[in-house]
Symmetry: C2
Subunit: 299 residues, 2 copies
């Protein structure tokens, strides 16, 4: 089955202590879509400006990502610039130019409206609602978010939570949303807001799923060097959704394995700037790391 992915499609200028890379392909939907493409057909919904490099369109196409839902509008592509500190954990935004993203309204081609798996990658909750309004009985809907929306669009986000099957957020966002320092009691509080599945991402410490069959502690793949963590969370959830869409059987039966695959794709994402490492990933390399990760958690 296929996955519809809506989110930001951007140009990222990223500075780390070791290097500086301008105008990389970035955005939540780009990372999630490429990650999902290793497992399932992907339909991308987003917006770019006339300055969007052709080579990035070709990158999407090489991953067989359907682009009928990618609007190209007069103006500039969303441009984000950020800088990481030495430990690669803290980053600060240097610049945000919304460009064509400012007036973005995701409109779904008719053929997209029956896609079974829907990933509402990080984007304003109002736009995530707008996508769901156009969908016809999707099988499994997951949303990601960011601290910005907790700050400026909490009402929209809380309404969205009632429309989701799964919600993915990081640990600091979970603390902010629930006002709870404990990740396990925070999970319980988030379930009460709507979603049956809640995943809390903890970066290099992996992620935690809470669902009908209880908790799953998903490990992160050990990395000896992190080049650029931008997009790792998007890659994780994209890989997870792609894997779920490809699997036979129920979501409940497959979600743990799907998270493991998502975790592995995210690990590759961290090993290159932007999508540079992920984009040249081979399926056998994913399988190899999944195998290693299973071995590292086997008692």
């Amino acid at each position: 089955m296929s996955v519809l992915i809506v989110g930001s499609t951007a140009l990222d200028s990223i500075k780390t202590p070791k290097a500086e890379n301008p105008r990389l392909l970035g955005g939540s939907a780009s990372h999630a879509a490429v990650a999902a493409s290793f497992f399932s057909p992907v339909k991308l919904v987003g917006v770019v400006g006339e300055d969007f490099p052709k080579r990035y369109l070709q990158l999407y196409k090489r991953h067989k990502i359907a682009l009928e839902g990618l609007q190209v509008l007069p103006g500039k592509t969303f441009h984000w610039s950020g800088e990481y500190e030495v430990n690669m954990n803290n980053r600060r935004t240097l610049l945000t130019e919304l460009g064509v993203f400012e007036a973005f309204s995701p409109e779904l081609p008719a053929a997209y409206q029956t896609t079974p798996f829907v990933l509402l990658a990080n984007i304003a909750p109002a736009l995530q609602h707008h996508v769901l309004d156009q969908m016809r009985r999707p099988k499994f809907v997951v949303a990601d978010t960011m601290d910005l929306w907790l700050n400026i669009a909490l009402g929209d986000l809380l309404k969205l939570l009632k429309r989701l099957d799964g919600f993915v957020l990081n640990d600091s966002e979970a603390r902010q949303l629930t006002n709870d320092d404990n990740v396990f009691t925070a999970l319980k509080k988030i379930h009460k807001l709507g979603p049956k599945y809640v995943v809390i991402k903890q970066g290099s410490h992996g992620s935690i799923l809470s669902g009908p069959r209880g908790l799953f502690l998903c490990p992160a793949y050990p990395l000896r060097a992190v080049v650029d963590p931008t997009g790792a969370g998007d890659s994780f959830v994209g890989g997870m959704m792609g894997c779920l869409a490809a699997a036979k059987g129920s979501v409940e039966d497959n979600i743990r394995r799907a998270m493991l695959y998502g975790s592995v794709v995210a690990s590759f994402c961290c090993e290159g700037f932007g999508l540079q490492r992920t984009a040249r990933l081979q399926p056998a390399q994913i399988e190899q790391r999944v195998k290693e990760l299973r071995e590292m958690t086997r008692v």
Copy 2:
């Protein structure tokens, strides 16, 4: 087989945002010994003053901990007082009264010198050396440490590392020792200092073993409330060593399972002040949590 455990035996006065408990049974050796006692016979080596409450001696005895190596000297028992912040992660020391601990020299009864498993719990590296000097061909020697010794006794500690089979430290100590932010490259550097097995403790994020069969990512048991984390690391390594001493077969075959048991005992430790929860722990409760933890990591 049995475990010899040397370390501090102390009275801990602990303040958390919710409660204050004076003069609890504490110290690295107390926590490690009680944790190990659920699996194997334990021989404790330490020192207390004449003020050491009889009920704490009885607590050791209830856990069948051999006390021939526990010196009772004129003067006061080592007393530590600390306070935890709201999130229970950061703590600050309010008071340290060394008392009889200041002149402590661990002397091993002759019968102790052939104990197969040796845990050098957190204590000055010079004293850890002194214990090893008295041992005759132990099967498996593990040491724990703390930031204090990295600051004031690094030379002794580096020499100790060459005498160990296993070394256990937490992530901030690993960073300090190796000057490396990445836990996986830090592990490689610590191996080069001597130990075949290195375990880095990451608190609520579990622990990581690096050994001859590669990495093992050991989960922490999910806790919805932490009452007092003091001694959790000592309980972890104590439980691990007790479990290893009890198991048939090689350390390599058993260490992953032993870490899981250590992790579970540490989780109980966090659920009471000092040793209050651990001391009334039943073996069936340990087995139950180990089973749950395995379920939570099963893909």
